[in-house]
Amino acid sequence: MKGEEMTSLERVLTTLDHREPDRVPLFLPVTMHGAKELGMSIEEYFSKAENVVEGQLRLWKKYQNDCINATFYAPIEVEAWGGEVIFSADGPPNSGRPFIRDPHQIMDLEPPRVKETPCLLKVLKAITLLKERVGDEAPIIGIAVSPFSLPVMQMGFDKYFDLMYDQPSLFQQLMKINENFCVEWANAQLEAGATAIAYFDPVSSSTISSREMYLETGFEIAKRTIARIEGPTATHMASGRCLPILDDIAQTGTAIIGTSVLEDLTHMKTVCKNKLVVLGNLNGIEMRRWTPQQAETKVKEAIEKAGPGGGFILSDNHGEIPFQVPDEVLSAISTAVRRWGRYPIAVN
């Protein structure tokens, strides 16, 4: 197939096999930009599955993206638990005041049933419709926040640290509840037509947890959870570092690791070789003020460092492109990956 045009799915599967496809795949995690395409507010856009389907299909064609993001917004999972979601005109919907206000609530906490929860059913409907339209041409990526990271939205980060250190039995109880929910949610998305699940686990990142703490907590939780998810997973640290725990992450059963812009791609690629596919790591925050020329330079640099040998997917470092990133920058990234990402890599 070398030198021929592959479908996005073929390109990604070859990459997952740690071989060189026709070119470096591009995963642009554009979510809110669908609202711009449809000329509606972010809140209206996410209110209906059909909007997200139409938005994603337009973005897929516009940027010749190699994946479809079935993601709505991260706090949809706390919405499912009865938590508050705050919409804004120019950013991702945000989780509101945490719904676990006293750790003892954990004793009586019941996870939502996925197939009885309207906001989750809306996502499943979008995945089903996307699968009907896209077929096997491109992978459809679902998302599940890890059981270990969900409590940041469920109870607030500081209270969650306090729980971990001061009330270990309640922490374990919360993990048990969250693991069951995460598995049910991920598998429902796979059943609806998602090709793979992005397992978002920023609390496991070395930015947040020491390796010692990770091995006792996020690592064991990921191993148990990922083993029960009935499809491929990509672990994402949402801008957090992961180099010190890469060998451990590889043992959790995940296939891909999303890497931070704080880490060097050459180093990442060397450590991950034949173990994990490297996804990343364009700086989404800075991207807002890039020129198209700067975007091309950044893409070239990333491809030069991580492209050779396959096993690399070009993406951002956070897992969601900010609403403020202009279309011309996204187009420049898309054009650059086509220009410089063809195998064999020859960026100079």
């Binding site: 804004s88 120019d90 950013g91 991702p92 945000n94 989780s95 509101g96 005041r97 945490p98 607030g156 980060f157 500081d158 640290f161 971990m164 250190y165 070395s206 930015t207 947040i208 947890s209 020491s210 703490m213 801008s239 570092r241 180099l243 010190p244 812009v261 704080l262 700086n283 989404g284 925050i285 800075e286 807002r288 003020r289 900010p322 609403f323 403020q324």
Partner: protein
């Protein structure tokens, strides 16, 4: 002093409250409470903050170190104690968000250094401006996690100027770490890259605070 700094750092990173308290008691035998805060606790928290900056330490360790240090200082200098630092008048807030961790980290470090400061919690632009004015705040610390909130700091700095206030605004949080020009774009006076930067930033701004 260096051996105390190392012993305290080790105790904090091991979340060993008992050992941390013993180090403080050892220091207290020959030092005044405020000197302990400034010469022992703050240098340790700065080392820990630097360790996080360099990717050697984790935020969980930074958080617990700050929390324990704050508890230790509270036993030496209870809130409102006459020796606590009252100047410059400080306040801290999270803008348009419920992600409180960054604010909590900075709050702990400043209290560990003996500062008394107002905590506005999570507030919007209008509330932040009016409370800053009402409390005659000299240095306002704003923590953000999301990019839109970080961009909205410009409305705060603009609003303060419009009201004729010369409050210094210090920003911190992920968007400012990932885009090092952003603090200037939103017209802040300074940014902190990590929680323990706050002490140095406030001391540096001190000269400009009237």
């Amino acid at each position: 002093m260096e051996h105390l700094v190392e012993k305290l750092e080790q105790a904090l990173l091991s979340i060993d409250r008992l050992s941390a308290r013993r180090v403080m008691e050892e220091a207290h035998a020959g030092m005044q409470p405020m000197a302990i805060a400034e010469k022992l606790l703050v240098p340790v928290l700065e080392r820990i903050g630097q360790g996080w900056e360099e990717g050697r330490l984790a935020l969980s360790q930074v958080y617990m170190s700050g929390r324990i240090s704050e508890e230790l200082v509270d036993t030496l200098l209870p809130p409102g104690h006459a020796h606590r630092k009252k100047q410059p008048r400080l306040a801290i807030a999270v803008l348009d968000d419920y992600h409180m961790l960054g604010k909590r980290l900075v709050y702990s470090v400043l209290r560990a250094d003996g500062f008394d400061l107002l905590d506005y919690g999570a507030v919007n632009v209008e509330t932040l401006i009016s409370r800053t004015k009402a409390d005659n705040i000299q240095v306002l610390l704003i923590s953000t996690l999301m990019l839109p909130s970080a961009l909205r700091v410009k409305e705060v700095t603009g609003g303060l100027k419009k009201k004729g206030l010369d409050t210094k605004v210090v920003v911190g949080g992920a968007p400012f770490r990932f885009d090092e020009q952003l603090w200037q774009e939103v017209e802040a006076d300074a940014m902190g890259r990590n929680a323990s930067d706050a002490v140095a930033v406030i001391n540096n701004l001190g000269g400009g605070v009237s």
